[in-house]
C-alpha cells in the first residue's frame, strides 16, 4: 500500500454511526490527557493558599495555579450534608462541596462574594471573572474507608478501592456564560485557555487535589498522632467520579462544527499512524506495554449494565488474543505495521475492540500526532448560509451528505418514536415517547435526519435554478435546515449518521462519545440515559506531575 492511501481518513459513514461513537475510548488527544501534558511541559505551579476547614470538612480552601500566561484559582467550599440531601441529580440543592475556578485574586472580598453565591450553584450568580462553577459529593463508603485507613496510618489497598476509583464525584461542571460565568470568548481571550473544556478539565483536576487534601485533613482531625496523607501512588487510585445524564447529549448536535473538529483530529491522528512505514523498537515496546495495561484495565472495568458488560467480556477475550497474534505474527516488524493491525482488527475485533485498538496505536506516537491538540477548538462555530446557491445545488448537497438520512420512512411511528424536550421541572433535556407523552409540539430542534429528508422533499417541485435566498424568503421554516446543510459541507464529521428520534436510539451512546473525548474511563451506565464515569483515575497527582508521568497514565490498572 502507498503512504497516500494510508493517509485517507475513515469515511463518515463508518465513523459517525452512533453505535461506533458509543464505542469510543479516551486517546492521547482527549482533553484531560492533553491538559496534563501541557501543565507539565509549561511548568505550571500549584499553591495551596488556604485550607480553612474544620474537623467535619466545613470551610474554605484556595488553590492557586500559576501558568506562563496568568493565574487562576480554585475556590472550594466544604459543606455539611445530611444523608437525605445527597443526590447526584442535577436538581439537588445541597452538596458536600462547591467550587469556582476564578481569575480573581484570592482575597477576602473575592471569598466573601463567592461564598454568597457558589454554594447556591444555579441559584447564585457568578461574574465574568469566574470561568467554571461546579459541585461534588463524596463517595460515602469509599471516602469514609479511606479516612479510616489514613487515620490508622495505612494507605488504602488497591483491591478495596479501584473498583469505585474516586473519593468525590461531580454532578455538574458549568462554563461558557452559564449563571453569570465568563463567556467562552472571554475565557479564551484571557490567554490561559485555548482548547475545548480546558478550564473545566483543570477544575476537575483541582477538585481531585482537594479531595486528596480533604481525606488527609479529616484523618488528621480524627487521629492526629497516627494519621498519614495519601501517598503519590495511592492518589493514582482515585480520580473524580461523575454522573452524566441527558443534559450533555444535545451538545453534540448543537455544536456540529466542534464535533467535526474533534472527530477529524482523532481520525487524522489514526490516519497519520497508519501511514507510518515502519516502527522502531521503542514504539513497539511501548505499544505492547500499553496494550498489556489495557488488558489489565479491562479486567478491572465492571458495570451492572448488561449491554456494556457483554461488550467488556468480549474485549477481555479478544484483546489478549489479538495481542498474542500480533506478537506471534511479528506484525509490528512489517511495513506499515499500524495499518496492518487496524486492517486485521476489522476481521478479528468487535466494534469496541476496533475503537480500543485505535486509541492504543496512538499512545506511542506523541511526536506524530500531539500537534493535533491545537486543532480541536473552533473559534467560530457559525454555520454560513450561502444565499446564492441554486436549489439544484442544494438538493445535490443533501443527497450527497445526507444519504444516510434519506432511507428512513419518517411517517413510520418507530422512526419518530422519541422526541427531545427540555423539562420544566428539571430545566434539562429529556427524551419522551411521542405516542404516550405530552409535549411533542415543543420538541428540541435536533432531528436533522428527518429535517433533511423534509427539506429535500420540499425542493422536489421547485425550479432547480431558484436561489436559496429566494426559497428561504418564501419558505422561512427551512432556514435552520438549509443553513446547517450548507454550513457543514466540507465538515464531514459534523453529523451523527443516525435517526436520533428512532425507537432503537441508545442515548447513552451520545454521552459515551463526548465523555471519551474528555478522557473519561470506567463507563458505568445506570440506564440507557445516564452513566457514571471516572475522570483522571491513574493520573499523577500534581506533586507527581512531570513531562514523563503526564503522558503515561492511559487505561490505568491497579490489581495486576
Amino acid at each position: 500500500m502507498t503512504q497516500a492511501a494510508a493517509l485517507s481518513l475513515r469515511a463518515p459513514a463508518t465513523v459517525m454511526r452512533l453505535e461506533r461513537l458509543g464505542s469510543f475510548h479516551q486517546t492521547r488527544l482527549s482533553f484531560m490527557r492533553s491538559l496534563l501534558r501541557r501543565m507539565a511541559r509549561e511548568g505550571w505551579s500549584l499553591t495551596r493558599e488556604g485550607f480553612d476547614l474544620d474537623g467535619r470538612g466545613v470551610g474554605t480552601a484556595v488553590y492557586a495555579v500559576r501558568t506562563p500566561r496568568g493565574s487562576v484559582r480554585l475556590i472550594a467550599f466544604g459543606h455539611e450534608l445530611a444523608a437525605e440531601d445527597r443526590t447526584d441529580r442535577v436538581i439537588a440543592e445541597r452538596w458536600d462541596a462547591t467550587f469556582a475556578l476564578t481569575t480573581a485574586p484570592g482575597d477576602d472580598a473575592t471569598l466573601a462574594r463567592l461564598a454568597a453565591n457558589v454554594p447556591l450553584q444555579e441559584a447564585g450568580r457568578c461574574s465574568p471573572k469566574e470561568l467554571v462553577l461546579s459541585r461534588a459529593n463524596k463517595s460515602l463508603r469509599m471516602f469514609e474507608a479511606v479516612v479510616a485507613d489514613l487515620a490508622a496510618g495505612r494507605q488504602p489497598k488497591p483491591q478495596a478501592v479501584s473498583a469505585i476509583g474516586y473519593l468525590m464525584r461531580t454532578t455538574a461542571v458549568y462554563g461558557n456564560g452559564k449563571y453569570g460565568l465568563s463567556d467562552l470568548a472571554h475565557t479564551f481571550g484571557g490567554g490561559i485557555f485555548s482548547r475545548p473544556f480546558e478550564a473545566e478539565m483543570l477544575s476537575v483536576y483541582l477538585i481531585r487535589e482537594f479531595s486528596f487534601d480533604l481525606v488527609a485533613h479529616l484523618a488528621r482531625a480524627r487521629a492526629p498522632e497516627t494519621a498519614v496523607p495519601l501517598s503519590p501512588a495511592s492518589k493514582r487510585l482515585f480520580g473524580i467520579g461523575n454522573a452524566t445524564g441527558l443534559g450533555m447529549a444535545p451538545f453534540l448536535i448543537g455544536h456540529p462544527v466542534l464535533l467535526h473538529r474533534w472527530i477529524a483530529a482523532r481520525e487524522t491522528a489514526i490516519a497519520r499512524v497508519r501511514a507510518l512505514e515502519g516502527s522502531d523498537a521503542e514504539s513497539r515496546a511501548r505499544f505492547l506495554e500499553i496494550m498489556a495495561r489495557a488488558i489489565a484495565h479491562l479486567a478491572e472495568w465492571r458495570t451492572d449494565d448488561a449491554r456494556l458488560m457483554a461488550r467488556i467480556e468480549t474485549l477481555r477475550r479478544e484483546i489478549p488474543a489479538f495481542r498474542a497474534w500480533l506478537i506471534e505474527a511479528k506484525v509490528l516488524e512489517d511495513a506499515y505495521p499500524w495499518n496492518a493491525l487496524l486492517e486485521e482488527s476489522a476481521a478479528r475485533l468487535s466494534m469496541e475492540g476496533q475503537e480500543l485498538l485505535n486509541s492504543l496505536i496512538l499512545e506511542p506516537q506523541g511526536e506524530v500526532i500531539d500537534d493535533l491538540e491545537d486543532s480541536l477548538a473552533a473559534a467560530d462555530e457559525t454555520l454560513a448560509l450561502d444565499p446564492a446557491m441554486s436549489l439544484g445545488g442544494l438538493a445535490d448537497l443533501i443527497r450527497r451528505h445526507y444519504a444516510w438520512a434519506l432511507k428512513t420512512d419518517y411517517q413510520a411511528p418507530e422512526a419518530q418514536h422519541f422526541f427531545w424536550y427540555v423539562s420544566e421541572e428539571k430545566l434539562e433535556p429529556r427524551l419522551g415517547a411521542r405516542a404516550s407523552e405530552e409535549g411533542a409540539e415543543k420538541e428540541m430542534p435536533i432531528a436533522m435526519a428527518r429535517d433533511a429528508a423534509r427539506l429535500l422533499a420540499a425542493l422536489q417541485d421547485l425550479p432547480p435554478a431558484m436561489s436559496v435566498a429566494e426559497f428561504l424568503f418564501q419558505h422561512p421554516g427551512y432556514r435552520r435546515t438549509v443553513r446547517r446543510a450548507q454550513g457543514l459541507a466540507g465538515r464531514d464529521y459534523g453529523e451523527i449518521h443516525d435517526n436520533l428520534l428512532g425507537a432503537d436510539l441508545v442515548a447513552v451512546d451520545l454521552l459515551r462519545c463526548k465523555l471519551a473525548m474528555f478522557g473519561a474511563v470506567k463507563f458505568d451506565p445506570k440506564s440507557d440515559r445516564w452513566t457514571r464515569i471516572a475522570m483522571y483515575q491513574g493520573a499523577p497527582a500534581f506533586e507527581d506531575l512531570d513531562p514523563g508521568t503526564a503522558g503515561d497514565w492511559a487505561f490505568p490498572a491497579f490489581l495486576a
Binding site: S182, D183, L385, E424, E428, G432, R479, R529, W530
Partner: protein, 225 residues
C-alpha cells in the same frame, strides 16, 4: 441585572422559539438581538415588540414585493422579515433593496453581517441612521444613533452604499471594543424586559408527567453509596 452574552443569546432564541417563530428565524433573531445588545445597541424592547405582534403567519417573514427591489413590510419587524430580506439583498442585481414599513431595522445589521463573505459587504440605512458592514472591516455605525427610531421606516439594504452622506458615528474598532467590554463586564439588562423574555422562553418547556418522572435521566433519588 447583569447577564452574559451566552445567557442573552440563548434566552432570546428560546423566547423566539416560545413565541412560535419559524425554525431558524428563532436562531438568527436571537443571535441578532444578543449581537446588538453586546455592542450597546438596545434590542430587547424591539424583540419583545416583534414577538407580541407575531401571530404565527409566515407572511410576516416575507414582505409583499412590488418589484425586484421594492418591498412593503406593512409595519412588520426585521426580526422576522430581516433574515429573508438580507439574503435577497446579498444576491440582488440591483445595488440595494428598498423596504417600506419595516420596524426595528437595526436587526438587519447582524443578520447581514452573517452573510458577509469574501468581497461581499453591506450598507443599510433608514432616514437618519445606518451601518456599513464588511467581512473583515467589521461594522461601522452611521448617522444618528442617539435614540431608537420609533415606528416603521423606509429601509435600504444593499451591497453598494445608498446613503453615503451619513456621517460616521461609531467606527468598527469602537463597535468591537464595546463587544470586548461586554464580554469582560457582562450585559446590564432591564429586569422587566428580561422577565418578559423569560416568560416567552418558558413556553418551550414541557411539564413533568408520570412517564417523564419514571424515565428520569439523572441518578435516582438518593445516592449514598
Amino acid at each position: 441585572m447583569i447577564v452574559t452574552l451566552n445567557e442573552m443569546e440563548r434566552t432570546c432564541q428560546k423566547a423566539l422559539r416560545g413565541a412560535g417563530a419559524p425554525p431558524g428565524i428563532d436562531d438568527e433573531g436571537g443571535a441578532a438581538a444578543a449581537w446588538l445588545e453586546a455592542r450597546g445597541i438596545p434590542a430587547l424592547g424591539g424583540l419583545l415588540a416583534a414577538m407580541a405582534a407575531w401571530d404565527g403567519d409566515p407572511s410576516a417573514c416575507h414582505p409583499e414585493r412590488s418589484s425586484a427591489r421594492a418591498f412593503d413590510a406593512g409595519g412588520r419587524s426585521a426580526v422576522f422579515a430581516g433574515p429573508g430580506l438580507a439574503g435577497l439583498a446579498a444576491i440582488a442585481e440591483a445595488p440595494y433593496l428598498e423596504i417600506a414599513g419595516l420596524t426595528e431595522p437595526r436587526f438587519l445589521i447582524p443578520l447581514a453581517k452573517t452573510l458577509c463573505k469574501d468581497e461581499r459587504s453591506f450598507f443599510i440605512s433608514w432616514r437618519h441612521a445606518g451601518a456599513r458592514i464588511g467581512a473583515d472591516s467589521g461594522v461601522a455605525l452611521l448617522g444618528d444613533w442617539s435614540a431608537p427610531p420609533p415606528g416603521a421606516r423606509r429601509v435600504r439594504i444593499g451591497t453598494e452604499c445608498p446613503d453615503e452622506e451619513l456621517p460616521l458615528t461609531c467606527g468598527a474598532a469602537e463597535v468591537e471594543a464595546r463587544y470586548r467590554d461586554s464580554l469582560s463586564r457582562g450585559l446590564p439588562v432591564d429586569e422587566n424586559l428580561w422577565r418578559k423574555l423569560a416568560a416567552y422562553a418558558h413556553r418551550t418547556l414541557v411539564p413533568a408527567s408520570a412517564a417523564s418522572r419514571a424515565q428520569g435521566a439523572g441518578s435516582q433519588s438518593s445516592d449514598n453509596e
